[in-house]
Amino acid sequence: MRNFFFLRLFIWFSLRDMRKHKGRVATVLLGIALGAAVFSSVRLSVNASLDSFAKSMDLIAGQADYIITRPGGHVPENLITHLWNHRAIKNVSPVLSTYTRIAQAGSEPFLLIGFDPILDRPLRNWRIAPTTDPKAVVWFDLLKEPGTIILSEPLMRLLNREPGDRLLLEHVHQRSNFKILGKLEPEGLALAEGGQIALTDIATFQEFTGLFGKVDRIDLKLKPFATAQDLADIRQMLPESIQLNLPTAARESGQMMIRAYQLNLSILSFASLFVGMFLVYSLVALNAASRRHELAILRSTGASAYHIFFIFLAEGAFLGITGWLAAIPLGNFLIKYLLHGVSQTISTLFVRVRVDELSLSVFEISFSFAVTVGISILAAYQPAREAMQVSPKEALEISQLGMRSRKSPGQLALGGLICILLVLPLSRLPAVLGMPLPGYLAILLLFAGFSLLAPWALQRISRRFSSLLLRRAGIPAYLASRYVRDSGTRTAVSVGALITAVALFTALVIMIYSFRQTVEYWTYETIKGDLFLTSKMGEINRFRYAIPQQVIDNLQDYKSEVDILPNRRFFLNYGKFPYEFELLDIQGFMQYASFFWLKGDPHKIRPMLKGGKGVIVSEVFSNRTGLTVGDVFEAQIEGSYVELPILGIVRDYRTQGGVVFYSMPHFNAQYHQTYWGGLRFFFKDRSQDLDLAVAKLRNEIIDRMGDKVDMFSGKGLRGAVLRIFDETFAVTTVLLLIALVIAALGIATTLTVMVLERSQQLNTLFAVGASFRQIRTMIFWEAGFMVVIGELAGVVCGFILSYLLVYVINRQSFGWTFLYGVDWGSLGLSIPLIVITALAAALPAVKMVFRQPPATLLRER
């Protein structure tokens, strides 16, 4: 009964009042809906990529208990017979995989897996769809007939093929014609890689790729009684360069990278919700203040203070719930855009993902609901507490004094100062569980601190400039400054929202500019080269295939014109952290290009590096592993165990982990010979037209070796790096603009309600001789004060925030920092635009003035 009574009271008191003020409620709901939609759709998009990646990795890993790999290389196939004889091993399955594509311009690559259908059966779930010939045993034909393949259904549709058709596929060394035997049922392994996958027999695969006698890995399934000793025995059996690992290692390292990105985007999208919180506070606080007399009447007729408290908390909850529901259609729209953008970013920066479906996880939906409603209730808490203090005797008083602020601006400013002072020590704390949580807390305190300073700043500035305004700008400006000065926390809340949005905007403009400038410098110093050449589909296959010897031999003809610098990249793991070990011709490289030095004396390091005396590591590698100058780098690389001192640290913005550089000739001499995975060309004559020279060389190579290699002009590659950079920040920019829109909504709501609440004052002004124009000008001046102060404080806050983003958040999330730089041009241009937008938010308030005729001033009581 009590609950029903409360519900009835809420409906009578709150909902009916909201129905009378549909406009302002709708504005707040829109703000909450936008924030919730952004937050939910960002998380769902990244989760879709995470799920897709994890699903693919799990489907490919199958039931394997362990996998055998060789870091940076391949595993000899003959190991299988030794493993098969071990008493603890139940199943053994060799696996190879590569990306291939049909031999047609513009075709998309897909994953081709080579396996033994008999050995693999117990380890992975896959089923071939029945064919028209009931006697056909497709998987057996896969074994029996060379050059045969099975495709997943989506892939078959994409390539417009049927069982029985032929498929010309291309790879590093050759093109091969495959016969399509059948299609996979849409289950198990067929669902990996977004459903675009093909299977072939291991022998066919090896013939196609040239990897005779080698496999990528051997998957093991152990017998139930296998012990730790058995595992140790198995390890003993393996040659030194071969490792036994859990199958989840690759998945976990990929997930770790995606999660860091997810956390950053979540925090950014949370900012939209945070700004929306100010809207809720604003509306509930104004409701509580403007209905103060009614609250007193409620109290005087028997409502308890807690009734009042929970009514306003319930208003906050109602706004949160309704806003979240309104976010559903908005989120549907946003997610279509975000899903593509986010998965593309993840594929480009971290690991390849192909999202085939969006799953609405109960956890994510509940989480988004809980966060939205939670912060709405939190926003309503303070106004609810103030409202419960209204005394019943106020029912008898005629109050013309407006809202009484209980907290002095000075007290709030002190709190704000404490928050800001805590920012520096918090930012110095290390990451927690790999996440920059102290950094994020520092950012929250920064926003809170500046928002708490807002009332004091409004008061001080208005007090300082009141007389000047009266003399120079007239009575409307003066009255506006006086009102803003004395309105206390009311206007300060909207100013706080604007400070948050402007600070975010400023900080991200600076961060993106700093990042871009640094990356641009890095590409021009380190990714130097007139032409780059790899084996066909080299990049997507992570440079695992050598450039054909025939190509290398042919290229010797150009040695008089160009210096050809070879390199080789190994993709390894340091614990769970993925990184690249890159061998290159350091001597040649340093003639034309440079590393972007961060730590260590380049003059001392260069000769040592050229002499193969040690390695240099990227900043990301150093920050992630904790290894620094003077430490020893150790790694198993194919058949060799490498131990080298770290000579220096360089900036490198290559994604997918850190980088370690070493001299290729010295590796070949000290450890083992390795093939060339890529080539970099530099024209010796630097005075010629290099664009023309590159185009000519490229055409000649295509004519001679055409389809055996992939080539990129240096200019094109550097441009592509920057383009990818710009695309990855497109999502960030959209989120930011939404936060600004929400802040503008906050200003509009506050000003409108301030006008409505002060209708008696405004009518009095009218009665004592103010014109419509003077009163409207006064409203614009009020908006102007709020916006200017919000803007200025936001910019200052934004500069501090930018330092946190560059030197704390990025460093702890991704391992890198960049050179700090400010794009004064963009900042200078954007700030007036923000001011104009925010002032436009004053228009609804201006229209509200004298919605009721001034004669109501004299309405008899």
Binding site: Y483, T764, L765, S771, P854, L857, L858, E860
Partner: protein
């Protein structure tokens, strides 16, 4: 502004104000005919809903009539533009309200100077007169106090000073003693009477109270929006 005592300063013929509320109409006043000479102290009497506030709002230029003619201090309030009405409210009438209607964020002195500033005068120009008014009303020790720091009587006297800052010819007071105790109410009525007698201002007081009855030179009754004999 001075108006000759013999000339009608307020003249209304067939003055009607009808309010439209949704589908229905509410008559504020109907067919009011009125002539008030300059320098009169008029008491307007009537119960709640009689139309006193409607009539006062028309006379103050806060509202426009639905029908009829209305001349106030040679201003035809039917035909004036918005900017002319603004000038009218600044210079011709001074309003005093039941609930004082002082701006809470301005001091007593600032509230008084406000109409002058709105009329384009500087603070330096308006301050001397404001100080003189404060002194006359016994508020010179309160000039820097905010309304929250004033008593009810002090607030109403501040409001009277505000009404007089631009030296209007006509003072309109809507239940000026409604929120005051009898002593302060008496003080306020006596001040208004003094304005009328000494300063020759036309004063119109709408009230239930009998405090002003003795000092009135004209009494007008209103009932159901029409002029009647005063009670």
């Amino acid at each position: 502004m001075n108006v000759e005592k013999s000339q009608p300063v307020i003249s209304a013929k067939g003055l009607t104000r009808v309010y439209r509320l949704g589908d229905s109409e509410v008559i504020g006043i109907s067919q009011v005919n009125l002539e008030i000479a300059g320098g009169e102290l008029v008491v307007l009497k009537g119960n709640s809903g009689s139309g006193k506030s409607t009539l006062l709002s028309l006379l103050a230029g806060l509202d426009r009539p639905s029908r009829g003619e209305l001349m106030v201090a040679r201003h035809d309030l039917n035909k004036t533009s918005d900017s002319q009405l603004t000038h009218f409210r600044r210079q011709v009438v001074g309003m005093i309200f039941q609930s004082f209607n002082l701006l809470p964020t301005l001091t007593a002195l600032e509230n008084i100077c406000l109409p002058a500033l709105l009329a384009g005068k500087s603070i330096a120009e308006s301050r001397p007169r404001a100080m003189a008014l404060l002194e006359w009303l016994g508020l010179d020790a309160r000039l820097n106090h905010l309304p929250a720091q004033l008593s009810g009587g002090e607030m109403q006297r501040t409001a009277i000073a505000r009404a007089l800052i631009n030296d209007p010819a006509i003072i309109l007071a809507d239940e000026p003693t409604g929120n005051l105790d009898s002593r302060n109410g008496q003080i306020v009525i006596e001040l208004l009477a003094e304005l009328n007698r000494k300063w020759n201002r036309t004063v119109l007081i709408a009230t239930h109270s009998t405090l002003a009855d003795e000092m009135a030179t004209v009494k007008i009754g209103l009932r159901d929006g029409m002029i009647t004999d005063p009670p």
